[in-house]
Symmetry: C2
Subunit: 138 residues, 2 copies
């Protein structure tokens, strides 16, 4: 039984078989599944689960801060359950595979070999997210 399920129950999240299965599928390190992959794995355990419910649940987990969305250019979003340990992402531009990384020094210049997982690194991108002045009050 996953920590995540416990935590969510503690927060008063209404627990259902579908939500439990989605939460359980999203467990572990270096887990970065697309919604489709989550659906496939969830279906293996609970055949009646629907695509809509998977999307609903993923969206809620993201809002609750339990799961992080990772966007790779032009591909389906991936969902990363490792939201409580700060880390960054290393993305393959070819196949979209993602690894979690923990850069040591200046993220713009250093990604230690030990954190490259055999990837070549050709680009580093930093994105700050927040609210612009016009949207600040919303």
């Amino acid at each position: 039984m996953s920590d995540l399920v416990e935590r969510l129950r503690g927060r008063g999240w209404r627990m259902t078989a579908q939500r439990r299965v989605v939460a359980e599928v999203l467990t572990g390190d270096h887990v970065h599944l697309t919604a489709d992959e989550v659906l496939a794995r969830a279906t293996a355990r609970l055949p009646e689960i629907s695509r809509a419910t998977v999307y609903n649940t993923l969206g809620e987990l993201v809002s609750l801060g339990e799961v992080v969305e990772v966007t790779a250019h032009g591909r389906a979003k991936r969902y990363d359950p490792n939201a409580h340990r700060p880390h960054q992402h290393l993305v393959c531009s070819e196949c979209g595979t993602i690894r979690d990384v923990h850069p040591g020094g200046d993220p713009l210049t250093d990604l230690p070999d030990s954190e490259r997982f055999g990837y070549t690194v050709s680009e580093v991108e930093v994105t700050y997210r927040g609210h612009c002045p016009d949207c600040a009050g919303l």
Copy 2:
């Protein structure tokens, strides 16, 4: 006449009215247009231009390294012609508006007030892009 058009011609890129218009629309600082916006502005100058051509041309400019794609979670990609001066992005999670920023110290902790454009900043995300071992030879 834009520098970009000159540079592309110099690289042997076959020049057409459509491509010139797209390249000219993508000129300036803090320009981060969606494909749709590029189409709208291009159409204003060249009414017969098609959506497909705009997408083709944007894709080529990205491949040529003249334009950078910026992806905001769940929104249309935006195209940034400022590919030759290194910079990072500040994205409004609400409306998707983007500003170019130049962080000073450690990107993970510091975004100077002078670089915030009145935005609040709630999240910093670093993404490394490259090829995974399986895709390295492609």
